[in-house]
């Protein structure tokens, strides 16, 4: 038609494009070859800079070439005058910026910039901050740039308040910004150092409340955005406020001391896993106020950090006729000690902290803190009413209830767990484990109050066992009718355990039932034990007399009784 422009067909365009690409590829390959040849020949001069810049300009992710450039720059540093070097550095900075425009998320480029700035005698940090701000304006979640900004801010000693204001401005624009929230969590403790509580100090009340309000705004606006919830969790977990072990106790403490006359053995339980060197003086034992050299070991015999450490006592101490003996253990590294007395007619003696719930599984709440938590709980419940299916909200409610009063809220917590599992089936197993942990903690707390040595954990839908180190003194443990798959190695901490009921689970391994000095009766009926070999650990329990294996697959094996008699000669009654 009249006046119409003639244009190339799409085939012609495609062909032109293909030729162009082919040409590009040739250039790229030949330049790469040239660089590698020069590098091998040790010709690290400006021509290498030129060649590598051609390639890196198109593909900044070629890490080897950045290395190459660094080698060249290091060489040139020695050869050039300061003026020449300054020009070189200026060119390099400009080149880096052009590479960042090609790919703002190139590891190599940001790293090279870090390296370069770190070597400059007078780096212009203000310009670098400006650069970061510009890149974060384009993509506020570019964590490469955030990393670099933190590097620059640290080097330039930018006041934390300024950086905090910077995170403010980015969060205002788009609060879905992990890096920005994270940076706050680094800056706030710097801005508000708390002299009394060491490196993990709490935030002052007013700051905490302000931050909580900010983050609440975020999760009320968009409860499905994770970044805000993570920050919320950090805020609540800050300092002594966190909701579970082991952060609760910053100081290592001796939790329990137990002496048994029969086994001629002394057991110590710590508040966290520690490594005790054998025969060293980190853990001193004083018997009747005079030091005694002993050899410390863990229940499973492996030399690694453990809650529980024990040692054999010379029988002379235990068989004499003195009315009492006093044992004192001193943890020199942690400045902690504990003492217990064994009287003449007693089989054992112990001393344990009359552990209240606060110290055990969470931190003592000041009145203000618990008010904060209460109001957080209130707003989360409000949100949950509006968003009954929001998993982050449900989980936060559970954690808040635990922090406030685990026993009071137990029933409610369990209901929330049910809802949460229904809305988030992908994480059902994780939630089951978490629930098991909380239930176990609650049981331990109840036991503490009652000062008993019998623990019933039957019919609780447990999937894992934890905090077993708390059960050093327990003699009877009922774990039946749960969903346990194993009796874990940590079970070896139950030094006083006499009766263990673990029937009606799905147990496949018994690694933890090892070296239990007092275990007499073990019920494992209706579990999933496949091979007699799985029972091997039981052989190390010297007093085991009764073993119930009914309803396990291994009972079907031919000649099982003989096999077991051979494996466990000292067990008098085995039910299969």
């Amino acid at each position: 038609m009249h006046g119409r422009l003639k244009v190339k067909t799409s085939e012609e365009q495609a062909e032109a494009k293909r030729l162009e690409r082919e040409q590009k590829l040739k250039l790229y390959q030949s330049a790469t070859r040239a660089v590698f040849q020069k590098r091998q020949a040790g010709e690290l001069d400006e021509s290498v800079l030129e060649l590598t810049s051609q390639i890196l300009g198109a593909n900044p992710d070629f890490a080897t070439l950045w290395n190459c450039r660094r080698e060249v720059l290091q060489q040139l540093e020695a050869q050039k005058s300061p003026e020449e070097l300054a020009t070189l550095v200026k060119a390099e900075l400009g080149f880096l910026e052009s590479c960042l425009r090609v790919n703002p998320k190139s590891y190599g480029t940001w790293h090279h910039r870090c390296w370069l700035l770190g070597r400059l005698p007078e780096p212009n940090w203000a310009r670098e901050l400006e650069l970061c701000a510009r890149f974060l304006e384009v993509d506020e979640r570019n964590f490469h740039c955030w990393d670099y900004r933190r590097f620059v801010a640290a080097q330039a000693a930018v006041p934390p308040a300024e950086e905090l204001a910077f995170t403010d401005s980015l969060i205002t624009r788009n609060f879905s910004n992990y890096s920005s929230w994270h940076y706050r969590s680094c800056l706030l403790p710097q801005l508000h150092p708390q002299p009394d509580s060491g490196p993990r100090g709490r935030l002052p009340e007013d700051v905490l409340l302000k931050e909580l309000e900010l983050v609440q705004n975020a999760f009320f606006t968009d409860p499905n955005d994770q970044s805000a919830w993570f920050y919320h969790r950090w805020l609540l977990g800050r300092g002594d406020l966190w909701l579970c072990l082991p952060t609760a106790d910053p100081q290592d403490a001796l939790h329990c001391l137990h002496v048994s006359r029969d086994e001629a053995c002394l057991t110590v339980s710590f508040s966290r896993p520690l490594l005790v060197g054998s025969r060293t003086e980190t853990l001193l034992l004083m018997v009747d106020e005079s030091p005694l050299i002993v050899e410390w070991r863990t229940p499973d015999g492996r030399h690694q950090p453990s809650h529980i450490w024990l040692c054999d006592l010379p029988t002379t101490f235990l068989n004499d006729q003195l009315p009492q003996h006093t044992f004192r253990v001193i943890w020199t590294a942690g400045n902690a000690q504990k003492e217990c007395v064994i009287f003449k007619d007693c089989q054992e003696g112990w001393c344990r902290d009359s552990a209240t719930d606060e110290q055990l599984f969470r931190c003592e709440l000041s009145l203000e803190k618990s008010t904060v938590l209460q109001s957080e709980l209130k707003s989360c419940k409000e949100l949950q009413e509006l968003e009954p299916e929001n998993k982050w909200c449900l989980l936060t409610i559970i954690l808040l209830m635990r922090a406030l009063d685990p026993l009071l809220y137990e029933k409610e917590t369990l209901q929330y767990f049910e809802t949460l599992k229904a809305v988030d089936p992908m994480r059902a197993a994780y939630l089951d484990d978490l629930r098991s942990k909380f239930l176990l903690e609650n049981s331990v707390l109840r036991m503490e109050y009652a000062e008993v040595r019998v623990l019933h954990l039957a019919h609780k839908d447990l999937t894992v066992l934890c905090h077993l180190e708390q059960l050093l003194l327990v003699t009877h443990l009922d774990l039946s009718h749960n969903h346990l798959r194993a009796l874990p190695p940590a079970l070896a901490a139950l030094r006083c355990l006499e009766v263990l009921q673990a029937s009606d689970n799905v147990i496949e391994s018994l690694d933890g039932v090892t070296n239990l000095p007092r275990l007499q009766e073990l019920s494992l009926s209706n579990n999933c034990l496949q091979q007699p070999a799985a029972l091997q650990p039981l052989a190390s329990c010297p007093r085991l007399l009764h073993l119930n294996l009914q309803g396990n697959p291994l009972c079907q094996a031919v000649g099982i009784l003989e096999h077991l008699a051979q494996l466990l000669p000292s067990v008098s009654s085995i039910l299969t």
């Binding site: 422009l5 606006t221 409860p223 509006l386």
Partner: protein
């Protein structure tokens, strides 16, 4: 120059408003020979933007226009036996009830008597007068406190059926010549001066304004070229048809845009910001946590309401405002959604209308920024010119100030075959596009037009102050009584290149129920206060002050069926003037429909080819083709000088 126009075209477009310009561009782009004429001296017709002086001469022109006596038509001699003529109108009758008020001080002179007269004349001032009087008593120079000047002339009550005489033009320039006897020093306590200077935006204009916030009328005149005052006040929806078209056709490169920065609401006598984006909701201080969730939840639902029919089907019969009451929304939020987000009528709009409007708003959100709207820098009047430029690039020929006297219709075929212009030249064409205002009364005697009420205000500060003084805001004031309509307020800051620094340009628009001033003045009074030289205490709570105001009614010729016009040949197409709506979808839809009628099966404004892909090997091509690609270079500077609108050049020779 005009007498040697080619005598034959494919398409002749009369009028340079937005729809006409889009069609001209589309036709030219698909290879039609286009002649685009406008009898006015500027581009855009009622879509134009003017500098301040340009606007004043526009007002004057209306006055003169109405004086034109119908000359006896010379062209009738040219009409042959087998032809008929459809005469076109020589004067524009689309603007009525023009009223101008000037409040800014006249070059530091004061006229106390004028101010006194004002109290009698101008209703809007009386409400604030008592307070001002009280305040002025505290000041030492009491007699100099009021110097607001009104240049209003008594508006004669003339039935609007006679638009010519109903046009009341109060030429503002007259007031500048008023005699003044008082001296020009104004005593202001130094403390309040500091206060004022704090309110002045940082750095930007302090240098230019040694007199702080006080803008005089002569300053406005002097800086008049900084103004680009739109006759129609519209915004572009970020995902509206116009944006799509601008991008698709590559016309966007001729224009620059700014995102509207905030949506405002006027409630209980207060202006407040409406949180509508995720970031807004997050940052909002006025919403409670629970409200934040409610609002976000409802908006998220609206985004994809079609997928949840159960949630709204039962409410389809009721109005959107009734529906909102059934949702989990506080009255606060209901107001925001109804008036500021959906922007629909409380009484007349159905649930589905509301959901659709809300959805549209939300879909546009975040494409270019935190609000769904864009504003073209230098004013809405840029847009028709951008399309004209594209038309010219592809060979279209432009003539401004070019009057078309009549359309020539072939009696036998009943089709239009030519136009006769002011010089008596007969120009043949296949298709004729005529903008509504060009038709004579004979042609549109049966057409029922609606009216748009417009006000243009120059003020000294924003209706809602924030840290930044560069805000572009849209505010909807709902209809107060049944029968009246919601008023749309768009406030532009100086960085939109539509007003001088230190001032704001405010556009008010609504569907008319009375004259523009009657429709809009109540809202103006609520939001603004007339300018006085006196410093008022409590400046923080003070409303923005009016420096200058213009009211007028514009004919709304949109949505009028072609059948309403008398005796139109089938190849004469009617383009409407601006509609009252906020977006430009109407104009684009109309342009596309008409284009499809003219060029069936042709692509509507496809992207221009990449220059590299244009085949230019001359020998194999016919001369026209190479010529047309050459025109591309030649015609590259079509109309752009919006500042020159008072005295525009004609781009194509």
């Amino acid at each position: 120059m005009a007498d040697n126009l080619p005598s034959e075209f494919d398409v002749i477009v009369i009028g340079t408003g937005l729809p006409e310009s889009i069609i001209a561009a589309a036709c030219s782009r698909s290879g039609q020979r286009v002649l685009h004429v406008d009898s006015r001296s500027y581009y855009g017709g009622n879509w134009a933007s003017f500098s301040f002086s340009g606007l004043l001469s526009w007002l004057k022109e209306y006055q003169e226009n109405s004086d034109i006596v119908n000359e006896s038509p010379v062209w009738q001699e040219q009409i042959l036996e087998n032809e008929e003529a459809i005469a076109l109108s020589r004067k524009d009758k689309t603007i009525q009830h023009v009223e101008v008020f000037c409040y800014a001080s006249q070059d530091l002179h004061e006229d106390v008597e004028e101010a006194g007269a004002l109290q009698k004349n101008h209703a809007s001032v009386t409400s604030t007068n008592s307070m001002e009087a009280a305040d002025s008593a505290c000041l030492p120079t009491e007699d100099k406190s009021l110097n607001t000047v009104s240049c209003e002339m008594p508006a004669e009550q003339i039935p609007s059926s006679d638009p010519e005489s109903a046009l009341v033009v109060n030429d503002a320039e007259v007031t500048g010549e008023k005699e003044n006897h008082c001296d020009d020093k104004i005593c202001v306590p130094s403390t309040s001066e500091e206060e004022t200077s704090e309110n002045v935006p940082p750095a930007e204009d302090t240098a230019e304004q040694p007199k702080k916030n006080r803008i005089t009328y002569s300053q406005i005149i002097k800086e008049g070229r900084r103004f680009n005052i739109d006759l129609v006040s519209k915004l572009l929806y970020s995902r509206g048809l116009l944006i799509d078209l601008l991008i698709k056709s590559n016309v966007s490169r001729y224009a620059e845009f700014k995102n509207v920065t905030r949506i405002l609401a006027f409630r209980e006598g207060r202006v407040e910001q409406v949180p509508c984006s995720r970031a807004d909701v997050f940052n909002s201080k006025q919403l409670t946590m629970v409200e934040k969730r409610m609002l976000m939840k409802f908006l998220t639902f609206c985004m994809e309401y079609e997928e949840h029919p159960d949630d709204y089907k039962a409410y389809e019969e009721m109005t959107f405002s009734e529906y909102l009451k059934t949702q989990k929304l506080t009255p606060n939020l209901q107001y925001f959604v109804l008036h500021s987000i959906a922007m629909i009528s409380e009484t007349a709009s159905s649930t589905i209308d509301g959901l659709k409007a809300t959805q549209n708003f939300l879909r546009c959100l975040g494409r270019y920024g935190n609000t769904p709207f864009l504003f073209p820098l230098y004013g809405q009047g840029e847009l028709p010119q951008c399309f004209c430029r594209m038309c010219a690039v592809f060979g279209g020929i432009y003539c401004l100030r070019h009057l078309v006297q009549c359309l020539v219709v072939d009696k036998e075929s009943g089709k239009c075959k030519a136009i006769i212009d002011q010089f008596g030249q007969r120009i043949i064409s296949k298709h004729f596009l005529v903008e509504d205002s060009y038709f004579s009364e004979n042609t549109c005697s049966h057409v029922q037009y609606r009216q748009i009420s417009r006000a243009v205000l120059i003020t000294d500060r924003s209706v809602l102050k924030t840290d930044s003084d560069q805000q572009i805001s849209i505010l909807t004031v709902p209809a107060e009584e049944p029968g009246s309509f919601a008023v749309r307020v768009i406030e532009l800051c100086s960085s939109t290149m539509t007003c001088m620094k230190g001032t704001y340009l405010v556009h008010l628009t609504c569907t008319s129920s009375k004259t523009a001033r009657e429709d809009l003045e109540p809202v103006v009074q609520k939001l603004f206060t007339p300018y006085t030289e006196m410093e008022i205490e409590n400046e923080e709570v003070e409303k923005p002050r009016l420096l200058w105001a213009l009211y007028f009614n514009m004919r709304d010729s949109s949505d009028i069926s072609r059948n309403c016009y008398n005796d139109l040949p089938s190849n004469v197409y009617v383009c409407s003037g601006p509609d009252c709506g906020l977006g430009n979808d109407n104009a684009v839809k109309q342009a596309e429909t008409l284009f499809q009628q003219i060029c069936p099966n042709e692509d509507f404004c496809p992207p221009p080819p990449n220059p590299e892909d244009i085949v230019l090997d001359g020998d194999s091509l016919q001369p026209e083709a190479s010529e047309s690609s050459a025109t591309q270079e030649v015609n590259l500077e079509p109309p752009k000088e919006s500042a020159n609108l008072g005295n525009p050049e004609e781009p194509s020779e």
